[in-house]
Symmetry: C2
Subunit: 213 residues, 2 copies
């Protein structure tokens, strides 16, 4: 079970400063969608160069031109690229082909997918490495979280790793751990806290304790 | 009726060179998704600064964090921002709110939307300015084009402008014109041609002749 830190409202300098605090605690650093929009793939490149022991996920949320866009990210040093579950299978297959060429990984983000269980099974068949249950941040204010979807999706997936994202914080972590996902993605649950290192450490400790139990 | 030139496989220098050739022919320049991934929003900013008479569309294909991501693009100088029709209404409304704040425009991209007519009507009700019928580039090889969807969507929209994208070239333009969309989006149909200015001029001439007829 891995802890992925999502950096959304960051520039490269701010991200580097935070990573100096928590790089020994997290497993995957996510260069979030707005971060890439702001800085371009240079953000992924500089973070991979600065913190080579971390896996870098480029949250491109690819919707089209799968092979082309994913290749750009892998060439910039990304270990994992995201593609949207709502995109066409041809697009997902293009991302998977790029991952295969560069020997990297693909995460399908199921944000806003209807018929979640059915689509997750279809997406698994395209050859992605991870399927991510994800509650849109625009729905957090309405009290939605990804726990229900996480429970729903588990039975329809056979071998792919499951990731979970969407407003996860320390208070929610225990119930997420019960579902045993492969990757737990935390953004403002760490980045928005007063003591970011302490929060990351506390969450990592809970993960490790769960794994040992 | 406007001609929008989509710049996808470009960096800022290449885009500037092409725009020097065609800036007097086109109405809207699209900073395409892979172009933004490569360069960040600096691409939109530099193009708007260099060609202030052109409308600049930032093809963010927003899927979440509507208000936040759209605001970033408007602050960089974009006149129009895209949001995905498959995203949640809350996300689209966030983009519309940002557009209202900055006095700019929103285009909803209907790529991969199921139940196109129904969803287009819902999207129109969120207050977007344009609804874009869009065939994914990953489906062009399968011979798909946006003409059928364009015909399908027209009857379900009342007041919003209709844009059309997806492999449009000079040979297809006549049948697109018959449907009278507000914006015609052309990428490799111009950028992939030997004489790009001549092709853009020929397409613009067809558009103008249709408008006069």
């Amino acid at each position: 079970m891995k802890l992925q830190l999502a950096l959304d409202h960051f520039n490269i300098q701010e991200a580097t400063n935070l990573l100096k605090e928590v790089a020994d605690v997290i497993d995957i650093v996510e260069v979030g969608t707005p971060f890439i929009i702001k800085e371009g793939l240079k953000a992924a490149e500089e973070i991979k160069t600065g913190f080579p022991h971390l896996e870098v996920l480029a949250d491109l949320k690819i919707m089209d031109a799968g092979m082309y866009e994913a290749s750009m990210a892998y060439e910039a040093g990304a270990d994992i690229v995201t593609v949207l579950g709502v995109s066409d299978d041809e697009t997902i297959k293009g991302v998977v082909a790029a991952a295969s060429k560069y020997n990297r990984l693909v995460m399908a983000d199921m944000i806003c997918v209807k018929n979640l269980a059915q689509r997750a099974a279809e997406v698994e068949n395209t050859g992605v490495d991870y399927v991510c249950v994800h509650t849109a941040s625009d729905l957090h204010a309405k009290g939605k979280n990804p726990l229900k979807d996480l429970r729903k999706i588990k039975s329809s997936l056979k071998k792919v790793g499951i990731a979970v994202a969407g407003g996860i914080n320390k208070a929610m972590l225990e119930s997420i751990l019960q579902e045993n996902p492969e990757i737990i993605i935390v953004g403002t649950g760490i980045t928005g806290q007063k003591d970011r290192r302490e929060t990351a450490l506390a969450m990592k400790k809970m993960i490790n304790e769960y794994r040992r139990s």
